[in-house]
Assembly symmetry: C2
Homo-oligomer: 256 residues x 2
């Protein structure tokens, strides 16, 4: 088994660049970190090009890794620290090919979808994907201004849920048009004069829920085309709910 | 107005120590950071000893600060950076006296309470307090192993909700006994054979909800004395919900 123990190694330097968008697009790959995520990717038959592991992690996961057939490279703690996005990386990574854009279109889109409009915080985004998975949503659409699904912090907080549902990065107006044509209810989430209390809505199988930016809420042009805007009544004195908490309450109520 | 521009100043060095528990106990005070929180503390009539502000923040909040009568000190960006817990501090701080332990006892405890059993992540803790506030809970009890309410990250993510409800740091077994004597329903949140689906529970005014550790769930000795354990059915393939998300779904359902 090949062993790389220098951060100056050319392949390591190239993989380090996968932490930003330019690097990912150029190499058509992204970097997954930690055994939990590498294992989820293995189970989900993702296109894993290389697994990098410290000797310790290799010993720990020898059984599961024995079914893995592509390139396996041993690294040391120094290289792990260089590649990792946390202070103390676990020591196991996978270089994964970017998934081909799934062939989802107006004819085969179905189920319920969470739409992210300009969500900034990677932790919120990841938690929302994980929660959408748990609520039984079909997928999540990352609209303009929302961090990439391959951002290391987003990857970390999705905890593998990205392999359990569909993720689209695209124009929300385009997708809302398609969903409306299919007679989906499209729910916004902004308090205004005409907003409905969320728990008066009858749960359903097929709907879209749009969550807006943490500070500024939803874009006006999206608000105009929703069927209903929903709000969660605040009983205490908090100014607002965290966007991931709000999306959890809404999805778990709306999804039949 | 006094001006301090050196991080070697004795008072600044002392206030820096408020970021840990020992320092807070010794000085019987804690450090609040950012205008939002300082303003919430002013509005909530907290025992503010000193406000430290850069010239810029002073100009921005001159009106609101004109009603403030205690010591006001100008600092520079270097001192702000030294005291702050974020990479780019806003530049305004308050030294606040630790609140006297509220005189809550078996005779006057009422409403609904969120109990935190060994919650580790400061962001989760803060978000849970903020969500409890929004759900109309009366207070939050921080049990053993849960980060302090004065931890800078907990303070930041509570976003001022700590001033809108009651916070107790104490022994959960002790408080559960008191609540049970008052005929409160005490809900655990762990999936086991006898667990109830949360949305089959009729909402009420008075109850206690215990949330357990992110990785290990609730302690066994607490589980034994709950009236009912609740669970949130997971429809997709996520292994679990984030603890703050789960508490939000539960509180917004349970609280009448």
């Amino acid at each position: 088994m090949e062993k790389i123990i220098s951060v100056k190694n050319d392949r390591i330097k190239a993989w380090k660049k996968l932490s930003n968008k330019k690097g990912r697009e150029k190499q058509s790959a992204y970097l997954l970190e930690s055994w939990h995520l590498v294992n989820e990717a293995l189970n989900a038959n993702q296109d894993i090009k290389v697994i990098l592991t410290t000797a310790k992690q290799l010993t720990l996961h020898q059984n599961e890794l024995s079914y893995y057939n592509s390139e396996l490279i041993e690294i040391n703690d120094e290289v792990a620290k260089y590649l990792g996005s946390t202070i103390t990386p676990q020591g196991i990574f996978a270089i994964v090919g970017l998934p081909s854009k799934e062939d989802i279109n107006e004819n085969n889109i179905n189920g319920s979808w969470l739409l992210l409009d300009n969500i900034q915080d990677p932790g919120n985004i990841g938690t929302m994907v994980r929660t959408a998975d748990a609520a039984g949503m079909s997928g999540v659409i990352f609209g303009k201004g929302t961090s990439s699904q391959f951002n290391p912090k987003v990857l970390r907080s999705m905890q593998g849920s990205q392999f359990h549902l569909k993720i689209i990065e695209g124009n929300l107006l385009y997708w809302i048009d398609i969903l409306k044509d299919k007679n989906y209810q499209v729910y916004g989430s902004e308090l205004n004069e005409d907003a409905f209390i969320y728990n008066e809505i009858v749960p359903s199988e097929n709907f879209a829920l749009i969550m807006g930016n943490e500070g500024n809420g939803m874009q006006d042009d999206l608000l105009k085309i929703t069927d209903k805007n929903l709000y969660i009544p605040i009983k205490g004195n908090a100014e607002s709910l965290n966007v991931a908490i709000a999306s959890g309450i809404l999805m778990f109520h709306l999804k039949k």
